[in-house]
């Protein structure tokens, strides 16, 4: 009896009910912060289960940094991403290291200001760092530009929901800067036009 129940569970999981995102870059780029805000927004504003984990070196800056988000309809067992549906690479090293893990129909998003060589023509290149520098005036917020793009691409949670969490999490005095960066990321994706992407179910608006 239990076995049959298990098979049913697995079928549910094989659908889009488990959605995995991986963000990679170098320490200090704020990748984990971006992942944390995104995951918290999904947890707060939808009914889905979400699990965010991370991996980084002992250095304060530099070294490889990775953050992963798993979104699921049911409680999450394995907390890490095995076959990401979306990979966001904030530098060349992350792109090279993690591309092979990406699902065949998965989306690769790269910071085109830092990644010169993309392994596939099906990638989406957005110059996060350049946008942060030119439009906000600080490269520091490239992660928030990326967060904006991530929100727009996955459609797992509404941009409003993410922005609310974002504004509550960032230090006082940097709110405007972060908001601007986040919105710049959203409009950068909108400029790309119709992308026809696979996405995790409908967005639940609860704001």
């Amino acid at each position: 009896m239990k076995g049959r129940k298990g098979k049913k569970r697995r079928k549910e999981q094989k659908g889009l009910s488990r959605y995995e995102i991986r963000l990679g870059g170098s320490g200090g780029q704020g990748i984990i912060t971006a992942a944390r805000i995104f995951a918290e927004a999904v947890s707060e504003h939808t009914r889905k289960f979400v699990c965010q984990s991370q991996s980084y070196g002992p250095e304060a800056r530099g070294g490889a940094s990775k953050a992963e988000i798993v979104i699921s309809e049911e409680p999450i067992d394995y907390p890490k991403a095995t076959k990401p549906d979306l990979l966001l690479a904030m530098n060349q090293a992350a792109c090279d290291t993690y591309f092979s893990d990406l699902k065949s129909e998965g989306i690769l998003v790269v910071d085109s200001s830092l990644v010169d060589q993309v392994p596939t023509s099906r990638s989406i290149g957005i110059p996060f760092t350049e946008i942060a520098r030119k439009e906000v005036g600080k490269e520091l917020v490239a992660n928030m530009v990326a967060l904006g793009a991530l929100t727009c691409l996955t459609k797992a949670v509404s941009p409003k929901g993410v922005e609310k969490i974002l504004l509550a999490k960032v230090p006082k005095g940097t709110v405007e800067m972060n908001r601007k960066a986040f919105r710049a990321g959203i409009s950068a994706v909108k400029k790309l036009g119709d992308l026809d992407l696979p996405k995790p179910e409908e967005v639940e608006e609860e704001l």
Binding site: G3, G6, A39, S43, Q52, S53
Partner: protein, 380 residues
Amino acid sequence: MSKKKSANRYFLQGNEAVVEGALTAGCTFFAGYPITPASEISEILSERLPQVGGTFIQMEDEIASMGAIIGASLAGAKSMTATSGPGFSLMQENLGFACIAEVPCVIVNVMRGGPSTGLPTNPAQGDVMQARWGTHGDHPIVVLATSTVQDSFELTIKAFNFAEKYRTPVVLLSDEVVAHTRETVELPPREEIHIIDRIAPSMPPEWYIPFEDNSRGVPPMAAFGDGYRYHVTGLVHDVRGFPTQRPDEIEAFMKRLFRKITQGFNEIQMTKDFMIDDAKVAVIAYGSVARSAKRAVLDARDRGVKAGLLQLVTLFPFPRMKVEEVLRQCRAVLVPELNMGQISREVSRVNQGKCQVRKLNRLDGGLITPEQIMYELLKI
């Protein structure tokens, strides 16, 4: 599967859940020294404890931290410290003092790669035997292992409850993955949580015999300053707390230390099982690896292997009864660990030839993946 959104839904990190659990259990004293990956526990408690009238002290090192929580507990506070492998080593001497003086306290060890400074930001499970046998001398100890954020909350409360009920230090083993993973949790309402406080003496101070045996083997504990004057020492002591050399008193004392934990086996030895009823092969896992194992069991069942999972929540006293049941039922068990085989050795010890015990060890700083476990399950 969509469920009603409840007000008790939070998005927490394992370390944050430990803090919430500790505060819910009534912890009012924390002394510690920051160390990755346990620092968040200190960081958050330094803010939260003063808000509830508690005390937070950042000590000069982990030796002193352990000393401070023992002192606070003797003065009546529920106390805790949190550290990782290197700090846990420094705590061992005083941990023995807490065992022999029967001082309730909770030590959270968020395991990282070792030995020494090792891999500060990577998960490992190398401190299992240190938790059991790290301090010198023959002693009983309670060691729990958390595997999810939800667990971290619930087991921290359990750790305090066991510490108070049995007057013993309790070690809660977490690891980097559990500690730093953030996830959606539902915390039960406060009134549904059972909190245990130590039993205070009910007799007048002049009648109080601080270490006198009773049916539970756990003497009532007076707080320093309550008017019950008694002697606390790391030497083996008689019922009044003074050092003794008399063999009859020594034996009675040591036996009571063990007996009080043995009598609580039913409650203390906690396990969780998953699809174990009809299992022919089983995974015995704990900590973050149990999460990979759960997924691996589902994957293996998809491939026609009757797999199951026995998750050890309590590592010591080793939940022998439950493990033996699984060993009798299955033709093989797999023990995946982030060390060279510390619990698998315990499993082999109780196995006594009942079935095949296989190890799966990972030491490269990564978490064992469900695929690794599943392929082993297909092979055995």
